[in-house]
């Protein structure tokens, strides 16, 4: 922190939010750099939120072309084919996002294209994971979506190897559900509390987060009974896609029998009763190709709040998974961590 004052323009624009989190937090936001990978509807919502909040920069990675699915839940894409033809999702979203806040530097990362020697692949899966650690070092926050389990692990590891703390988040929405994963590594932050005399005081808290790998490796039977079923269901789908070499979301009705069979196997291996993961839930996740816009707004909003908290160092960050299912309307935090963390 170099103690720079907020400009008059910033003070006027950010007045209402400065009243929520303070001028100091606003300054930190303006110096933060965010990397986002996978521009689906939920991520678009998140990007809108974070740009409005006034971060320093936002870098987008997604060189897929526009599809019907993308148009259905991503309001950053202009629906006119003449406009979007030939442009990647990242490029289109970048143009829209810039308009929300001229003070934020929004850009597209394409460098990785040069890393692919022979094959030009338009799938982003796995590509970002080939980037070196020095690439991720440029950022304070990395958000990944639309990637395989392997990619999530790889990117998470690269972030963890850096000497500077790079916060790592995954976000995925399927059907009417959403999942957020948070890894802040070792995180120190301040919190207001009332002391013994009921006087407001500030305390410092320290949290230790497990990596994505460590977290999902926790044996299922060791987790509390009431852990959200969505957690397990998402892991089953993830495992299926990995086993079949699929891209995330590349799954359909025909796969359902195989998915249910895999669920059974996984439950056996984990010594967990297979009825614990409802087949109906798996069916929904398999069939639910398109994102549901209200869920995008909700998950994108929660994720936005979490990232703002992490950057500002104020307020309890969520530990370490968040689940939402519009069918029951609950937004639940689950702590999935190995016992010694």
């Amino acid at each position: 922190m170099d103690g720079e004052e907020l400009t008059e323009q910033e003070t006027a624009l950010y007045d209402r939010q400065i009243r929520v989190w303070g001028a100091d937090a606003q300054r930190r936001l303006s110096k933060s750099h965010i990397l986002v990978y996978g521009m689906k509807g939920t991520v678009a919502e998140f990007c809108k939120n974070i740009v409005l909040a006034g971060v320093g920069s936002l870098t987008l990675v997604d060189d897929r072309a526009v599809t019907e699915d993308a148009l259905s839940s991503n309001f950053l894409i202009p629906p006119n084919e003449n406009v979007y033809a030939g442009k990647t999702l990242a490029e289109l979203c970048c143009n829209s996002l810039k308009e929300f806040n001229p003070m934020v530097r929004v850009s597209v990362e394409k460098e990785y294209m040069q890393l692919i020697e022979n094959k030009i692949s338009i799938q982003i899966t796995g590509d970002l994971s080939r980037f070196g650690g020095d690439f991720f070092d440029k950022f304070d926050i990395v958000i990944v979506s639309c990637c395989t389990r392997m990619t999530k692990k790889l990117i998470n590891e690269k972030c963890r190897k850096l000497s500077k703390r790079v916060a790592f988040y995954t976000v995925d929405c399927r059907d009417y559900c959403g999942e957020i994963f948070v890894d802040l590594q070792k995180y120190i932050y301040t919190k207001k509390k009332l002391d013994e005399n009921n006087q407001p005081t500030t305390v410092e808290c320290e949290l230790q987060y497990p990596s994505f790998q460590e977290s999902i490796s926790v044996p299922w039977r060791k987790l509390p009974r009431r852990v959200s079923k969505l957690y397990f269901a998402m892991r089953v789908i993830e495992s299926f896609e990995e086993a079949e070499g699929r891209n995330p979301g590349e799954i359909s009705m025909e796969d359902l029998p195989a998915v249910l069979k895999l669920k059974k196997e996984l439950c056996e291996a984990q010594s967990m009763n297979e009825s614990h993961i409802p087949n109906a839930l798996l069916e929904r996740l398999v069939m639910g190709k398109r994102e549901f816009p209200p869920v995008c707004a909700i998950i994108g909003g929660i994720l936005g709040q979490e990232v703002i908290k992490a950057i500002s160092g104020k307020g309890d960050p969520l530990q370490n998974f968040f689940f939402f299912d519009a069918m029951d309307g609950k937004g639940v935090i689950e702590d999935i961590s190995p016992p010694n963390v």
């Binding site: 004052e5 003070t11 006027a12 309001f75 950053l76 629906p79 549901f292 816009p293 936005g304 609950k330």
Partner: protein, 643 residues
């Protein structure tokens, strides 16, 4: 629960949104993405710079334009083939009557004030259209569903009447910074720059019965040949020096309180004011009035700094100067506006000096502006989450999936691991005077209270009626309307000034009055009980309305799921995190009312609910964070009637 698959119900739906602000922008976008094709949207406001941090459909270039119109245009850019009908109008206009509301399948509120919410609630009940209500403040938010006959209406849990501060706290014994703000804004600023004919409680009541030396002369009038600096110092010395000395002379007041210190300008700023930038003497007639600023003139850069007593004194005197130097024409007509930089500077300084006098911590301009302007802090993310929740409930409504309607609370700190907590809606409150038409009773001194008091404080403020008709049996005592005849108007005007017992049809203990608002299709029967005495502090209005009570809450077993019984007259709230679930009213932006003479309480308010929020947050900065309910704004109503 039935699937949320919604295409056909949504495609055919006609939806009304009320409000195109923080929640409105997010909601319109999500509705459009979710397949809604016929959306109407009402908003009377225009776009301001401070909106742009979250109302993302608007750009800098749109400042000053209609929110409803610009929102529509922005959304059509990514959904060009849907129909969005904007109305740049006040939802309370008579155009938006029951017939208008009947054309919609569901109404979605994204409002920022209690008055409008109550009005829409009544129209939805009358039109029998379900209403999805919502509100956000900072990181907190909620969404509720109201279906006539099936759930509570928005008013079944009466929103508490705004707490008012007793006059003496404001005029004589402030103990919090907010008291100083109210004094600076509603008394001093009003006295110096507002309507001079307005009675004003600015002068402290002295225990000494004799009049002040300036008998017959208004202390606050600038004398001939008095230059601005002399005038400023004289006012300063009068309110911060002399008045305090007078107050101190009343020993009783200070028996159990800290005594204030009188402050005189000569002690704080002995020399003449230095003109830092030298531009005070320039006539500012050609300058853009909105850029006239004391901070600029004095070289004070940071609105987050807490100024010293000397700096506050400089700001006080300089602001006064700038008002007279560049905005003289407005003096006598000004009312405080949080976007008026000079007014904010003056009020900040005045409040701080008073605070210094009473040993209350000083505040920055940024903080003072928030308190004086009742600014509600707001961020985009909470609005986005709430918008998503609203659409989910709207879809349930369209599919008539009544059993799955939920009230959802967005928490800042998780309760039972939940950040988003759904609760089943409660059944209608049988003693709700709005949806259950149950009678009320009013304790009032029928020999002292005038009809005017009854109309303003009970009928309009507490009952939220805009255009009331008041009858005693078959006799019309009062009504509001466009097509009234001259003699009727004269009759009503005369009635307003009469005490209840002396009305043409005498209203005394045991009388039953009928109060109606035709537009809202609401009728209330009020049983009058005569009472001689009222507590000045607790019942400053001298009137107590009762019978409109909250349904009794029963304790709930912790292990049961978070839903109500459904069977009994009331359903309970979950016990853990119960405080959080009691959030009944969260407003995004709220307004403070105009101040009227002879009002025993002067408003600067807190809601019970915000106290709830503070409790669970475990954060209290010492100063009460204000979410101030919109109270009956009498000025605004007057203007409406005269149209």
């Amino acid at each position: 629960m039935a699937s949320l698959h919604h295409s056909s119900a949504v495609k055919a739906a006609k939806v009304l949104m009320v409000g195109a602000g923080g929640i409105g922008c997010e909601l319109l976008k999500t509705l459009a993405l979710s397949g809604f094709q016929d959306i109407h949207i009402i908003d009377m406001d225009t776009i301001e710079v401070s909106n742009l941090n979250r109302q993302f459909l608007f750009r800098q270039s749109h400042v000053g334009q209609s929110k409803a119109m610009v929102a529509r245009d922005a959304v059509l850019r990514f959904r060009p083939n849907i129909s969005i009908t904007p109305y740049h109008a006040n939802v309370k206009d008579s155009d938006f009557n029951v017939e208008f509301f009947k054309q919609f399948n569901v109404v979605l509120n994204g409002l920022d004030n209690l008055e409008a919410r109550r009005h829409v609630n009544r129209l939805c009940l009358a039109a029998e259209v379900p209403l999805v209500e919502s509100g956000t403040t900072g990181f907190l938010g909620q969404v509720t569903v109201h279906a006539k006959g099936k759930t509570e209406c928005y008013e079944c849990q009466p929103k508490p009447a705004p707490k008012t501060y007793p006059v003496c706290t404001i005029t004589s014994t402030p103990s919090k910074f907010v008291h100083c703000i109210v004094w600076a804004k509603d008394l001093l600023f009003a006295k110096l720059f507002g309507d001079k004919n307005q009675e004003n409680d600015l002068n402290v009541r002295s225990s000494d019965a004799s009049n002040s030396p300036e008998n017959g002369e208004d202390v606050f009038e600038r004398r001939d040949n008095e230059n601005i600096e002399q005038y400023g110092r004289r006012i300063y010395d009068h309110v911060f020096g002399y008045n305090i000395e007078v107050a101190l002379s009343n020993q009783e007041t200070w028996k159990n309180r800290n005594r204030p210190k009188p402050i005189y300008s000569r002690d704080v700023l002995p020399g003449k004011l230095n003109h830092q930038n030298g531009n005070v003497d320039k006539s500012c007639a050609t300058d853009d009035l909105s850029s006239v600023s004391t901070m600029a003139s004095l070289g004070l850069k940071n609105p987050q700094d807490v100024w010293s007593l000397a700096e506050n004194t400089r700001v006080f005197l300089e602001s006064l100067k700038l008002f007279f130097a560049s905005r003289e024409k407005e003096i006598g007509n000004l009312s405080f506006d949080k976007d008026d930089q000079l007014a904010v500077e003056f009020v900040t300084a005045a409040a701080n000096i008073r605070a210094a006098s009473f040993g209350i911590p000083l505040h920055s301009l940024f903080e003072a502006k928030g308190i004086a302007g009742n600014i509600v802090h707001a961020v985009a993310t909470t609005n986005a989450v709430v918008a998503g929740l609203i659409v989910i409930e709207a879809i349930k409504v369209l599919k008539k999936d009544i059993d799955n309607y939920r009230m959802t609370y967005c928490l800042e700190h998780p309760s039972k691991k939940m950040l988003l907590m759904p609760v089943e809606p409660f059944e209608p409150n049988k003693s709700c005077c709005v949806c259950s038409k149950s009678p009320l009773s009013l304790e009032i001194n029928t020999h002292h209270s005038k009809l005017r008091d009854f109309v303003e404080k009970i009928v309009k403020a507490e009952l939220g009626m805009n255009s009331p008709i008041i009858m005693h049996g078959v006799t019309l005592l009062y009504e509001v309307g466009d097509d009234l005849e001259e003699d009727m108007i004269a009759n009503y005007t005369a009635n307003l000034e009469k005490v209840l017992s002396e009305l043409p049809s005498s209203v005394i203990g045991g009388t039953m009055l009928t109060v109606e608002d035709l537009q809202q299709e609401l009728t209330c029967n009020i049983y009058i009980k005569h009472r001689e005495e009222f507590d000045e502090e607790k019942e400053p209005d001298g009137m107590v309305l009762s019978g409109w009570t909250q349904a009794p809450l029963e304790k709930k077993d912790d292990n049961k799921k978070l839903v109500g019984n459904g069977g009994s007259t009331s359903t309970a709230l979950p016990t853990e995190g119960q405080k959080e679930v009691e959030l009944v009213e969260i407003s995004e932006e709220t307004e403070i009312s105009g101040k009227k003479r002879k009002q025993p309480g002067i408003s600067g308010d807190e809601t019970n609910n915000h106290n709830e929020i503070q409790k669970l947050d475990v954060v209290d900065d010492g100063e009460d964070d204000l979410v101030i309910l919109d109270q009956c704004d009498i000025d605004k109503k007057k203007k409406k009637r005269l149209q």
